[in-house]
C-alpha cells in the first residue's frame, strides 16, 4: 500500500500566543513548534496500517515554514519511510494547503491507497483540509474518525458526531481518513528511531513546484488581536457552612436576573 500522512507543525499547546506588531498574524519568534496533536494519531494509524500490509510505505507530507522541521523528523523517527516538505509561509489558508498537498502527493509518483490526516490543525482550527484534499483528488473522505479497521483495502470507520454518537462508514481504498483523539495511542519516536531518521529521504519543494500560486489564496486574515478581557467577576466566600445557602441563592438569582442565562 502507498500510505500517505499529511501533517502540520503548530505552536505547542502550552505556548502563549500573541498577535504580532501589525496584527497580520501571531508573533512566531519565540514559539516552540510541535507536530499537530491530531496528526500524531494519523501517523500512528499509518504505521499500524503499514504493519498490517507488508510491502507498504508511509510517506509523510508537510506544508509549512522551514525554520524547524521537527514535526517531519518526528514522524520519520516514529517509523515513516520518507518525507516531503513543501516550503511555504506560516499562515497558508486551507485551500492552498490542500492544493499543495495534492501537488506534493502527485509529484511523489506514488498513487495513494490511503491518506491519513489529523481531523484539524490546532492553530487555525479550520477543519477543512482533509475534505478539501479528498475533493481535489476525487476521493471519498471520512472525518473525525475514532475507530479504523482495514481488511483488504476496505476500511470500516467510526466517525464521532454530536452526543458521542458514532457513524459507521465503509469505504474502499483509496480514501482520505481524518483522525481524532482516541483512535489509537501514538508511539514515541524511540531513540534508535531518532538515529535512523537522519538517513531517511526528505524531498523539498517550493509552492510553485507543486502548482500553487498566490492567486490560489481564498481566505484573508487580518487584525489579529487578543480576545477582550472580561471585567472582573463577583466572588463569594462560601467556605463557611453558615453562609453557603445564602451565597448559592444569591448566585442563582444573579444568573437568572443579571446574566439571564437560566
Amino acid at each position: 500500500m502507498n500510505i500517505f500522512v499529511c501533517i502540520k507543525q503548530v505552536p505547542d499547546t502550552e505556548t502563549k500566543v500573541t498577535p504580532n506588531g501589525d496584527g497580520s498574524y501571531i508573533e512566531t519568534s519565540s514559539i516552540k513548534w510541535i507536530m499537530n496533536p491530531y496528526d500524531e494519531f494519523a501517523v500512528e494509524q499509518a504505521l499500524l496500517t503499514k504493519a498490517a500490509n507488508s510491502g507498504s510505505t508511509v510517506t509523510v507530507v508537510r506544508v509549512g515554514g522551514v525554520k524547524d522541521t521537527e514535526a517531519l523528523r518526528t514522524a520519520l523517527a516514529m517509523g515513516a519511510d520518507e518525507a516531503i516538505l513543501v516550503e511555504s509561509g506560516d499562515n497558508l489558508d486551507s485551500y492552498m494547503t490542500a492544493k499543495a498537498l495534492k501537488g506534493a502527493i502527485e509529484k511523489s509518483g506514488k498513487t495513494p491507497d490511503v491518506i491519513f490526516t489529523g481531523k484539524q490543525a490546532i492553530d487555525d482550527d479550520c477543519l477543512q483540509v482533509p475534505q478539501l484534499l479528498a475533493q481535489m483528488l476525487g476521493l471519498p473522505s471520512v472525518s473525525v474518525v475514532v475507530e479504523c479497521a482495514e481488511d483488504g483495502g476496505k476500511f470500516t470507520l467510526k466517525r464521532e458526531v454530536e452526543g458521542g454518537a458514532l457513524e459507521v462508514y465503509e469505504v474502499n481504498s483509496p480514501a482520505v481518513i481524518a483522525c481524532n483523539k482516541g483512535l489509537n495511542t501514538p508511539r514515541y519516536a524511540s531513540l534508535p528511531g531518532i538515529m535512523k531518521a537522519k538517513r531517511k529521504p526528505l524531498a523539498q519543494h517550493s509552492l510553485a513546484d507543486v502548482g500553487v500560486a498566490d492567486s490560489d489564496a481564498r481566505v484573508k486574515y487580518s487584525n489579529f488581536q487578543l480576545p477582550p478581557e472580561k471585567p472582573a467577576g463577583k466572588k463569594f466566600d462560601a467556605m463557611d457552612e453558615a453562609n453557603q445557602a445564602s451565597v448559592v441563592a444569591e448566585v442563582v438569582k444573579l444568573l437568572r436576573e443579571e446574566a439571564k442565562v437560566i
Binding site: I26, Y95, D124, C126, Q135, V171, Y221, K235, I262
Partner: protein, 318 residues
C-alpha cells in the same frame, strides 16, 4: 444585494437552533434556506419566523441520510451560480460537508466564525484561532459562492426576529456516486447535546477525585438541561472519557453558561471555554486562576456547593 443560502439541518420538525441564530443575524438580506432530506412542516414555519424567504427541500434517492458526497453533489447542483454566500452552523455534519462543497466550487470558506457583518456585498467575519487565544478578522476572495460556518451559540438568538415569506419548495436532487456511506449509527451513551452545541455545560476537574463523583455534576446538569464536561486533568486521571474534555486538546465550547467545578483553570482549559458567555466557578482555592475568568465565583467545596446549587435551581425552574 448578496444572495445568501443557509444550509439547515432538520430532524423532522426540529431545526438546529444555530440556523435561527444565522437567520437572525442575516436579517435585511434576501435569504433562502436549503434542507436535504425529509423535513416537517413546522420546521418550515420556524425557518420562516426567523426570516427565510424560500425553504428549499432537496430530495432524492440516497439523500434520506447523510453522506459527505451525496449531500455535496446535491447541494452543488442546487447552488449552481444562484448564490453569493452559503452559510451553515458549524455542526458535526456541516464541518464535514462544507469544506468538500466549497472545494467543488474552488471557493474559499471561513470556518466557525463567532460574528460577522456585511459591508455591502462583502462579508467580514471574526473568528477565534489557536483555540480562542487570539481573534482575527476573516475575509474571503476568489470564486463564488463563498462559504461560512458559524459556531453554535456565538451569535445568540434574535430577540425580535423578522419573519420571511417562508415559501416551501421541493427540489428533486441527485446524490450522485457515494463511496463513503453510513452503514449504521451507534447511539452515544449520552442523549445530551454535544459539548460543542450545549447551551449549558457543567464541568469537573481534578478535584472530582473519582469517576463516581461525576454523579454530583450529572444531577446538576439534569436540572439545568446541561451537558457534563471535564478538564484535561480529570480526563488524564481517568475520571471522565476524552469525549468530555474541554480545552485546547479537547473541545472548544462557547455555551451561554459554563459551570466549572473543582477546575483550577490551567491555560489549556481556559483556551477551550473562555468564550463562554457566563462562567461560574466553584473552587476551594480563592486564588485559582479560574476565578479571574469567572463572572460569578464561589469559593467553597464543590461537594457541598453543587448539591445546594441543584436544589436552588430546581426551586426556581419548577
Amino acid at each position: 444585494m448578496a444572495k445568501v443560502l443557509v444550509f439547515a439541518e432538520a430532524n423532522g420538525d426540529t431545526v438546529k437552533s444555530v440556523t435561527f441564530e444565522i437567520l437572525g443575524k442575516l436579517a435585511g438580506h434576501d435569504v433562502d434556506v436549503a434542507v436535504v432530506g425529509d423535513m416537517g412542516g413546522n420546521a418550515v414555519a420556524d425557518l420562516a419566523k426567523f426570516g427565510a424567504a424560500n425553504v428549499h427541500n432537496l430530495k432524492g434517492d440516497n439523500l434520506d441520510k447523510y453522506s459527505p458526497e451525496g449531500y455535496a453533489n446535491a447541494l452543488k447542483d442546487f447552488i449552481g451560480s444562484n448564490y453569493d454566500y452559503v452559510f451553515a452552523g458549524a455542526t458535526s455534519l456541516a464541518k464535514d460537508l462544507m469544506p468538500r462543497l466549497s472545494g467543488m466550487f474552488d471557493a474559499g470558506m471561513a470556518s466557525e466564525v463567532t460574528n460577522f457583518a456585511f459591508d455591502g456585498d462583502n462579508f467580514a467575519g471574526t473568528r477565534p484561532l489557536f483555540a480562542g487565544k487570539v481573534l482575527a478578522k476573516v475575509e474571503l476572495q476568489g470564486p463564488k459562492p463563498h462559504f461560512v460556518t458559524v459556531r453554535p451559540n456565538a451569535l445568540g438568538l434574535p430577540e425580535n426576529p423578522t419573519a420571511g415569506a417562508g415559501a416551501s419548495n421541493d427540489v428533486a436532487a441527485s446524490a450522485g456516486e457515494i463511496r463513503a456511506a453510513i452503514k449504521e449509527i451507534i447511539k452515544g451513551a449520552s442523549e445530551k447535546l454535544d459539548l460543542t452545541e450545549a447551551n449549558i455545560i457543567v464541568s469537573g476537574g481534578r478535584a472530582m477525585k473519582s469517576a463516581e463523583n461525576f454523579k454530583v455534576l450529572e444531577e446538576l446538569a439534569e436540572v439545568l438541561g446541561a451537558t457534563v464536561g471535564a478538564s484535561r486533568a480529570a480526563v488524564d486521571s481517568g475520571y471522565a472519557p476524552h469525549a468530555m474534555q474541554v480545552g485546547q486538546t479537547g473541545k472548544t465550547v462557547s455555551p451561554s453558561l459554563y459551570i466549572a467545578c473543582g477546575i483550577s483553570g490551567a491555560i489549556q482549559h481556559l483556551a477551550g471555554m473562555r468564550t463562554s458567555k457566563v462562567i461560574v466557578a466553584i473552587n476551594t482555592d480563592p486564588d485559582a486562576p479560574i476565578f479571574t475568568k469567572a463572572d460569578y465565583g464561589i469559593v467553597g467545596d464543590l461537594f457541598t456547593i453543587v448539591p445546594i446549587l441543584k436544589e436552588e435551581i430546581s426551586k426556581i425552574l419548577s
